[in-house]
């Protein structure tokens, strides 16, 4: 019973969901669709029930493994695929899964904004440019990359350095961080960037807190970002080829 309430229920419901979906996918064999529907519904409701158990560590583990693995897998596909259109689509997938990582890091607004900006706007613009400027077929410069061995060696030396530092000093680094300000009973407004810290009892990354930080402590930065966007749009219009200069 304990197993069913905790981790066993999660696995069983996931397996039921997967089995029901597999059952429902049309194939050569004629299957009774009610069996598949029942399995899918049981899986979904079981999953919802498991998710409602507070502080289930296995849920966090599975979500982290899923998002981290798919982020790294899809970004490896972006880097290695030899067709730019596929690379752009894998980039969208990598963006979505890194938004899952952001959600796990308690940044829901940021995850939504990243989905809108990256997967909604940037990837679509990339695909448009690929359609405008891509030559037909697989081009030779997509098949021959430049000094791959040197780049991989340099990058993975850097990665090994970062991971070694995290392995050795990670716990000390986290422990050396001072106590979060929300524990302080009196919220000290004279402290540096006081508006950026969540108030006592408030959780991290809420719209309220993020808006207070953006339009309180970082108001000039927001103005600067707006100016930057305007200048960039003017520049993009000025740089982009005119119609009278000939179409692509």
């Amino acid at each position: 019973m304990n197993l069913l309430q905790g981790q066993g229920g999660l696995l069983i419901s996931i397996l039921l969901f997967a089995f029901g979906l597999w059952w429902l996918i049309p194939g050569p064999a004629q299957r009774n669709k009610w069996v598949g529907l029942a399995a899918v519904l049981l899986g979904i409701f079981g999953q919802l029930g498991v998710m409602r158990i507070p502080d289930n560590p296995l849920v966090d583990e599975i979500l982290f493994g899923l998002f981290a693995g798919s982020t790294l897998f899809f970004s490896a596909l972006v880097v290695t695929h030899h067709k730019p259109v596929y690379a752009a689509l894998w980039f969208a997938m990598a963006t979505l899964s890194s938004c899952g990582m952001l959600l796990l890091q308690s940044a829901p607004f940021l995850a939504a904004a990243t989905v809108i900006v990256y997967a909604g706007a940037i990837v679509v613009t990339f695909v448009f440019v690929i359609m405008l400027a891509q030559q037909a077929g697989v081009t030779p410069y997509d098949q021959r990359s430049r000094r791959p061995a040197l780049a991989v060696i340099a990058a993975f030396v850097l990665l090994a350095a970062i991971l070694t530092a995290l392995h050795r000093n990670g716990n000390e680094l986290v422990a050396a961080v001072p106590q979060p300000l929300s524990d302080v009973a009196v919220h000290d407004l004279t402290q540096a960037n006081a508006l950026s810290h969540p108030r006592p009892g408030e959780s991290l990354g809420t719209m309220h807190g993020l808006g207070r930080a953006l339009f309180g402590d970082y108001l000039f930065t927001v103005e600067l970002a707006g100016t930057l966007l305007m200048i960039a749009s003017i520049g993009a219009i000025a740089i982009a080829p005119r119609r009278e200069q000939g179409t692509l």
């Binding site: 980039f91 900006v117 410069y141 990359s145 990058a155 970062i162 207070r212 993009a236």
Partner: protein, 151 residues
Amino acid sequence: MTGDIERTLAVAAGLFILGAIGFLTRRNLILIFLSAELMMHGVGLTFVTFGRMHFSNEGQVMNVMSLTVAACEAGLALALILALFQVSRSLDVELWTDLREEDLPNPVSADELTSVVPATAPEFPKLTPAGRAPVLPKRQVVIKRNSSPKT
């Protein structure tokens, strides 16, 4: 390295590294910018993780700013790519190695300079035959074949 913060930092580092590899090795201008965006993803994830470590919203504010910069960068970069494509009719970045300093050697080795090879013939889509094949008597076909060279 079992904590939540350290492993997220490790994933962010991996994202950055993969983007860096793509930025260094790929020769397509569009893929170079996609790799740069991957690197920005990694840095943004690091920002958010450190902000969570300090229980502060500042990391997320920084990520919002880097999101803005990424949007500006994408717009400008794609306009530049279109302008460059109009000049060279190719997305190969090696075509622009003439912009280097005069006293530096050409960074492209001879076997890597494959862009001079013309691209293969474009593959046009072939329509699959639709509908039923008409049943024609054999004699008519034979007659048509015989008559067509005469005209």
